[in-house]
Symmetry: none
Subunit: 201 residues, 4 copies
DNA sequence: TATGAATGAGGATTCATTCAT
DNA sequence: AATGAATGAATCCTCATTCAT
């Protein structure tokens, strides 16, 4: 059972085919036969390259989260102020490259399935910790630690909610719209903390 | 094959068992046999009462959404001002009665599955329209129509994100915490609009 | 298990419903539930009146063959010469009362199923012996014994073939047409034997 | 799911096993499991090769009718005069190769089942048209067109009746006997038309 | 008599997986 | 490296049958 990445290009093709199949047929109906057929190869290859269906799906989820992480890294590289960095993270999670139906839908399925699948759950948990850590560390430069914690959860929930929405409907929430909503949230939400006095005062 | 609700009590038992099974085994492994066995009856009954597995799951999703709707109605009944009504809606969606792991997890599965299942999608779509309509109508009494639209999407996304989070981890986000995050969002977010002048000048 | 003909009228209703269901749904899909539902009663009654599905179907086949036998008896009662008697038998088997799609189709199913069902096979065998005996006894008054044997088989095969045809297509072979074919056969076939010398002579 | 005849030999094995199973267990009890088990393979193969049970049965019926057609073609190839051709057709339909219990019984089941199964009905209909057309075209060279039509129906009904008989009883009507009856019919029936004047005067 | 809820065996079918080639 | 035939467990579902009411 050679699991070594002998042929990385081949693996990538399978992973993309898997994501495409989940998007096309749904998680339950994305069978190894269909994934392989859409790729024009035999189903046996999936076991050769990934050890089995679970292996392929884990690789696919890993790939999905890597793409988001990569997008964030790119946007953060050109960001300056803490607020710019925050906007970079949000922007990265909603960029047309990652915030596309196929990705959001597959992510939604992975999140739902991850509950009863340790391997997927681990990936999801690590990713959640990473993004929260990123956001929190930036926020602490702007607001108090307590406020940073709350705001982090709000922001993560908002992003997850937008992804869930995008994954549900074929046409509805375009990246630009989603970004507008998120930026609206961010601007208004941060504005309160920048004020000299509490509004309820 | 009576599809009409002949024996409503029996149907409720099956629906609860279905939700419990999805929570316990996951959507994919919540088979008719397991659901029936956990209830101590024969699998054939599911087809007798619901016409099939899909029928049961549709009824279960319907039940789930009804619970949330019912909770909202109750909380709204005692709410006075528009802001109170808004908090009532948020509070209802995060109350211990509905914001429980079994419900959030099942909801997460339903949302993911609904994409390729017209019957579930319809339920989800109607529910989404209803909650957005509720929130928007209240918000329009506080802020401008444009602001109401944006705020509605932000709030819905936040709630969906919190539900997704609660559905993913067995122990993590308690109803009280989630409510605190949502209220924090609501208070700070509305505060901006209550200010005499925009902070950005 | 009261199998006694307590309520003969009720039994007749079930039998007619069974034949109608076989005609309507086909033998395989004529389930006890469907038969009972079409009659507006509960499926349990079939077991009460007939001991089970097999009992009902045996009764139905018995009824079917009785109808043909009854029709033959009626036609034979008014027949005079041997040739008239022969025509009476043929006419009875193709009369509009018995040579109807529902009967022919059900008969076809019974014949096919009878092979592996002793109870049905016995009925079919007895019926076959009876009709052959009837035809042969009449023929012996017209032709030689050897010729009578051959002609009997030819005539029975012809009638069975016409029934099979009528059972297969919804609209095609009307009783009048079938009767014309059978009479054509009979007249021409008997004509040969009435000739003073063999045609090949 | 390859529907193309990739492995024709394997397909033939399944078809023969299907016919044997229908002969052995009856149509209703010829389950995919039994057919596969009798062949010493797994039931899944039937779906792999034929797409399902229906596909196998359609292929089996097709095979059955092909055999008869093939037999007719062979016999017709060596036939000379119109009457010889007629005898060839009759002889082909009653030859020991095709007029065997397994075939006649399976045919009987197919005919009965074809009523509610479009795919089987189409095969049966096409076959009926072909054989009628063959017989009629030969008969038109011997008798008038009107007589040819009637005689065709008589002959087809006779053959169908003989097949039905052969399919019903395990041992009863041997090919030689059936052929004798059919030839008796043919010779006597044609004799009338060869006479200078009708016997009825 | 009659009902209809409940059963459980048995059906076709799907699918990940294996393995000889 | 790749195929695709073959497997067998597991799934949903159907149905005749039973039985308390």
């Amino acid at each position: 059972m050679p699991v070594q990445p002998i042929n990385l290009i081949r693996r990538e093709e399978f992973i993309e085919a898997a994501i495409a199949s989940i998007h096309k047929y749904g998680f339950h109906d994305a069978t190894v036969n269909r994934i392989a057929r859409d790729l024009g190869v035999s189903a046996g290859n999936i076991h050769y390259y990934f050890g089995g269906k679970d292996g392929l799906f884990e690789a696919a989820m890993h790939r999905l989260l890597s793409r988001i992480r990569h997008e964030s890294a790119q946007q953060l590289a050109i960001a300056g102020s803490p607020e710019d960095r925050l906007r970079a993270i949000v922007s990265a999670n909603l960029s047309p490259q990652v915030f596309q139906p196929a990705f959001c839908r597959t992510w939604l399925h992975f999140v739902a399935e991850s509950i009863h699948r340790p391997a997927l759950q681990r990936l999801q948990r690590v990713n959640g910790m990473r993004i929260r850590s990123n956001i929190r560390s930036v926020l602490r430069k702007i607001v108090t630690s307590a406020q940073a914690n709350a705001l982090t959860e709000e922001l993560v929930a908002l992003l997850d909610g937008l992804w869930a929405h995008r994954g549900q409907v074929d046409e509805g929430l375009e990246p630009a719209e989603a970004l507008a909503f998120a930026m609206s949230f961010l601007n208004h939400r941060l504005a309160v903390h920048r004020l000299p006095s509490s509004p309820a005062g």
